[in-house]
Symmetry: C2
Subunit: 276 residues, 2 copies
C-alpha cells in the first residue's frame, strides 16, 4: 500500500507530518507553490509554498477568531476589507454578521480563489455572495489607495517569509490605519510566540506605534506550529478585548462571548515578551 | 552529516517530528521503553513508549499549570500527593509554595526518577528536598491505602494507552476522592480535546460523578499533539477556577493570576463536548 506522508517544515528542526490519501491539485502559480491534499486526519488541506494554510477539520478556529473578535469589538461595522484570505473562510464568517453591507477581498493570487472554490467549497462558499467584492491585486497597494473606507480590516496573510512579506511591518500598519475609518479595527494573524518570539514582539511593537490601542490574543490551532497561535489587533477607539453586544446571534464552534475576553489574557512569557 | 529525526506517532495519521542531536539514554525498564534524547529545538526530551513526556524548553508550561492551579485554588494546602511525575517537575513547582509541609511522589518506575536525576537536573532538582518523600509503587494502590490524607493530589501520568491506564476512570477518581481531605482538590492531565474528544468527555463525566465540582482548563503545550492540552480538576469545596490569594509570591513563566481564571473559559466545541 502506498504510504504517503506530507512533511511541513515551517520551523527549523521540528516538523508536523500528515498521512495523506492523495494530492488533489499541485500548481506553481504566478506567486507560489499551491497544493491541496486530502489528509487522513484533517480532511482536505491547502498548502502554499509547503506551509499549511487551512484544513477542513480545524479551519473554523482560525476563521472564527480572526473575524468575530474585531467584528464584535466594533460597535457597528458595515464595511470590511480582507487582505489575503483567498480561500474565503474569513469572508464566510464576516457575512454571518447581518449588519455588514460589504466585504472586499483583496487577494494577490487568483489561483488561490479558483482552487479553493473547486476543492474547498465548505470554506469558499461565501465568495459568490453579492455582498462580497473580489479584487485581484497587491494588498499593500490596495490599502494605500483607499483612505478612510473600512470599519474593520482583516489581514489573513501567509507568513512573512513568503509572498505575504510586505503585509507585515510598520509602513503597512500605518497604511492600514489610514485606510480605516475613525473608529476602525485591524487584525492580523501573527505567528507562534513560542518559537518565533522576536517576530511576535516586533509585530506587536510596530502595531503599537501605528495604533492607539494594540493587543494580542491567542487561539489553539492544531495544524499551525506549536498549536498556540497569536493574533495582533490594532484599534483606533474600541477596546478589542471587549465584547460589545449582548449575545452572539449565530452558532459558533470555537468563538464565544466569554472567550472573547479570556483569549486576551496572556501566559506570563508572552506578557513579558511584549512588555519588555 | 548524520541527519537524525525522532517521530512521535501518538495519534494515528499525524506525527510530530524532531531533529535530534543524539540519544542520551534508551532503556527498556520494568514498565516501559524509556528514552532521553537531545533535540535541536526543544533541548533534552524524555520519552516513554515513544511518547513525549517533557522537554527542557517547554516543561514549564505543563508543570506550572498542573500544580499552581490546584495549589492557588485551595485556601491552605499543606500535604500534596503526586501520582506519576517521576521527572520531578511537578514536585519542583509544588515546593515553591512555602506553606507546603510535605509532598509524596508515588512513581511506579524508579528508572524514570533515576534517569531524570541524571539527565534532566533542571526538572528533577527538587526530588532531594527533605519535604519530598519518594514512594516507588503503584499509584492506584497507594491512593486506596491512604484515606483523608492530602489537600491536593496531582495525577501527572502517562496516557491511558500505556502504563498509566489504571490512573484514569471512575474507580480511580473515587479512590482519589477518599484519599483527599474534606476540602481537597485533584487534578490530572487529560489529553487533547481536538483529536480525542470522546476520551476527554469520558474523563470529565467520570470526575463529575466522583466530585461535587468538576472543571476543565486548557494550556498551550508545543510538544503535545495539537498543542492545546486539557487538564481536568475535581474539587470537594473550592472553585478550582478561582485564585484564592492576593498575589503569586514567586516568578512564573506561564501561569499568572489572571490566567488562572481565563484558562477555564472554554472554546465552544469543548464546552459543547462536555455539556452534551
Amino acid at each position: 500500500m502506498l504510504d504517503l506522508w506530507l512533511k511541513e517544515a515551517q520551523i527549523d528542526d521540528v516538523a508536523l507530518t500528515y498521512k495523506i490519501e492523495k494530492t488533489l491539485i499541485r500548481k506553481q502559480t504566478k506567486y507560489q507553490d499551491l497544493a491541496i491534499v486530502e489528509t487522513k486526519r484533517f480532511g482536505r488541506m491547502l498548502l502554499l509554498d509547503g506551509i499549511v494554510q487551512t484544513t477542513i477539520m480545524d479551519e473554523f478556529i482560525y476563521h472564527e477568531m480572526i473575524t468575530h473578535i474585531p467584528l464584535f469589538a466594533h460597535k457597528n461595522p458595515k464595511r470590511v476589507l480582507v487582505v489575503g484570505g483567498g480561500d474565503g473562510g474569513a469572508v464566510r464568517e464576516i457575512l454571518k454578521h447581518s449588519n455588514i453591507d460589504k466585504v472586499v477581498l483583496c487577494e494577490i493570487d487568483e489561483d488561490v480563489i479558483k482552487y479553493s472554490k473547486e476543492f474547498l467549497p465548505e470554506i469558499s462558499c461565501a465568495l459568490d455572495n453579492p455582498k462580497c467584492e473580489i479584487f485581484i491585486g497587491d494588498g499593500l497597494n490596495y490599502v494605500i489607495e483607499h483612505k478612510n473606507e473600512f470599519d474593520v480590516i482583516v489581514v489573513d496573510s501567509t507568513d512573512p517569509f513568503s509572498v505575504g512579506e510586505n503585509l507585515f511591518g510598520g509602513s503597512f500598519y500605518k497604511a492600514i490605519f489610514e485606510c480605516l475609518k475613525e473608529d476602525g479595527i485591524f487584525i492580523a494573524q501573527t505567528e507562534t510566540p513560542f518559537l518565533l518570539p522576536d517576530l511576535v514582539k516586533k509585530i506587536y511593537k510596530d502595531v503599537e506605534i501605528a495604533f492607539p490601542i494594540a493587543k494580542i490574543f491567542l487561539a489553539g490551532i492544531p495544524t499551525y506550529p506549536t498549536g498556540f497561535w497569536s493574533f495582533t489587533v490594532g484599534s483606533k477607539k474600541y477596546d478589542p478585548s471587549k465584547f460589545s453586544k449582548s449575545e452572539v446571534p449565530f452558532p459558533t464552534k470555537y468563538y464565544n462571548k466569554e472567550l472573547h475576553e479570556a483569549c486576551f489574557v496572556l501566559p506570563q512569557y508572552i506578557k513579558d515578551l511584549i512588555n519588555k
